[in-house]
Symmetry: C2
Subunit: 376 residues, 2 copies
């Protein structure tokens, strides 16, 4: 089977290397690159060369960004070529359109590498759904922020210093907003919710990052036996669902609390299988390349997942309700003292908590908020 790569950056090179060295029966025949980077005969800077090549059955998009990735994916699917992508931003923005386009031509759209890097997360949700309803999912989905929190805990360092470290190691972008403001986790949570609940997830759900977390916050929670992690979460119950992204202060006795460096840990709860967790490298050339190549092999072996967003679920933000801690100098409505400089708000939903936090941020831009686990 001949395939084409769109993009030959870190992930594209990983895919090329894995397929060439380790996979029989698949050939990377064409590679789309920028005009000034055409270093070998397989490369072209003209997408039409790939689109019009009848021998190319499948296109792997690993360019990143919204455009031209969006257009190329739509065009490839419209031409009946199947698409594998690792681009969570473009899938989160156009999932529904891609799925409709794939249905229209009978092409297949595969997205394992958009969430959790090498962790078989999307395929595991799909597999669980063959039997179970997904009652809930949650996870550490962003290696950069996990690296930052883990280093803050272990080195007793402060946010800015560790962020600089992460940038030097290549774990964080020069502009780290997508990671530390929760946008990256938001996109992965959106995709997971669509797949897990079988519906087009609402676009607008509460997203809080951890840009303002301090060493003092880490210490405060540690004294209570808690460890902060940035989690994406979704729940489904009786035809309703809710999703959120926010820092959660978890019991230090959970597996999540011990996820080191830039690893991911993704969980689901299914009706009959109960709780399953999946752990691994959430990013990187070879793990993400591996996830893409697994999709390519699945396709070559005849797997044809068809996403169906026709589920008529109602978004109900009260499904995700709990207690929240805000560390702030601002006054927080309905709160009680939690610790010096921090207050506790009981039994609000993630959207209400987000609103309280926004209000606090307007008064004290350094404020930080974390959800408490149900049992704490």
């Amino acid at each position: 089977m001949k395939i084409a790569l769109l993009g030959h950056g870190t992930v594209g090179r990983g895919v090329d290397q894995i397929i060439t060295q380790r996979v029989d029966g698949v050939e990377v025949a064409r590679i789309l690159e920028l005009p000034d980077r055409l270093t070998e005969p397989r490369m072209t800077s003209n997408f039409e060369d790939i689109l019009r090549d009848p021998e190319i059955e499948l296109v792997v998009e690993c360019m990143g960004g919204l455009e031209p990735a969006h257009t190329y994916i739509v065009d490839a699917l419209a031409a009946g070529k199947s698409v594998v992508t690792s681009n969570k931003a473009v899938v989160a923005a156009h999932f529904d359109e891609f799925v409709s386009q794939a249905k229209a031509t009978g092409a297949t759209f595969l997205i394992e590498a958009t969430c959790g890097g090498g962790v078989p997360w999307i395929a595991s949700i799909e597999k669980a759904r063959r039997i179970d309803q997904i009652e809930s999912f949650s996870g550490i989905m962003n290696g950069t922020t996990n690296f930052i929190i883990d280093a803050m805990v272990k080195q007793g360092a402060d946010f800015g210093d560790v962020l600089k470290q992460a940038q030097e190691l290549g774990y964080a972008e020069r502009d780290p907003s997508a990671d530390i403001d929760g946008i990256d986790v938001r996109n992965k949570t959106y995709i997971a919710a669509c797949v897990a609940f079988g519906c087009a997830c609402v676009e607008d759900f509460p997203v809080t990052g951890l840009r303002t977390i301090t060493k003092a916050d880490i210490d405060l929670f540690a004294q209570k036996g808690l460890t902060v992690k940035l989690l994406g979460r979704g729940v489904q119950e009786d035809g309703r669902y809710a999703v959120s992204v926010e820092p959660v202060a978890l019991s230090s006795d959970t597996l999540e609390a011990h996820v080191p460096t830039n690893f991911n840990l993704l969980s689901l709860v299914g009706t009959t299988v109960g709780e399953l967790k999946f752990y691994g490298q959430g990013a990187g050339m070879l793990p993400t390349g591996n996830a893409i190549v697994q999709d390519v092999i699945d396709y070559s072996q005849g797997r044809r997942p068809v996403y169906d967003f026709s589920g008529e679920l109602t978004y109900d933000e009260d499904l995700l309700k709990g207690d929240y801690v805000l560390r702030t100098t601002a006054e927080v409505e309905g709160s009680e003292p939690y610790a010096p400089g921090a207050v506790l708000v009981h039994d609000v939903n993630a959207a209400q908590a987000r609103a309280l936090f926004q209000k606090a941020l307007n008064e004290d831009a350094s404020s930080f908020m974390a959800a408490l686990p149900k049992e704490a």
Copy 2:
């Protein structure tokens, strides 16, 4: 597709319930039961009724035990019927024979439910192997012993009391030997090694259980920042491999150290994907039933895994080498003091450690041994 169940105990009833309530296109048409337990028309006590029924395409063996399970599986495969089983004892004893018999008739042999209950462990090893070499695997594979250790740690209770608790809760058998002597983990490790390394694993590898662990042992390791877990392990390197089952004192900062109650956590390291971990319920009616039904659905969707044990790997016990702690009043050759009543042996392989432990047990039947992690 019509299938038959051999056995209608806990797991068989789980399979029956899940298929009837949640899976379209599969019908449990016949059930093999004891003559005095035939409570409904689908049931028969005569295996020939199933074997000779041309409409039965697949047989699910969930009787447990070696015979007649072994004979029924061989007969079904010889008749060209595919077999799904949750019976780790019979697979560990006859894996090679079952695989040869399946090859001979083109039948399929599926074993997800033999290891890790609802955790997709065997399928994950197979999937990783499509691209990677499995460099190593390890895991908490026995819920009973994990329940016992977890309760000892959390309740500060002693082994005997917690074992009684586990028996009352149905987590441990009346005769707990298979669990606490490591036999159950040995069988799962054997099966995982065959699948992961693509060779017929040696029958005879070091197996140590934790029948003799005491509250004092737990406390001793806790003081060193370590938590004991019973692990099955395998490594592969340069055409050689080794496997072992033994208590390992892991850093309390690992995910393994925080696996609660009767859950399992199974890990593999692949060449390109790196480290992956899989967590879930290792036993129980619905999780194990779920694993069996996943195999049935896989089969109905055309998945036909073919096990191949033709890999010419050499067993080399020196691949699993490390430091061991023995708590014993016996004198241990080449040891140095570790703590009051306990000694440390440096850099021995699992077989050498097992031999030292056997010798210590002969002098002091209450002795306990655990491997130390490489970095400790």
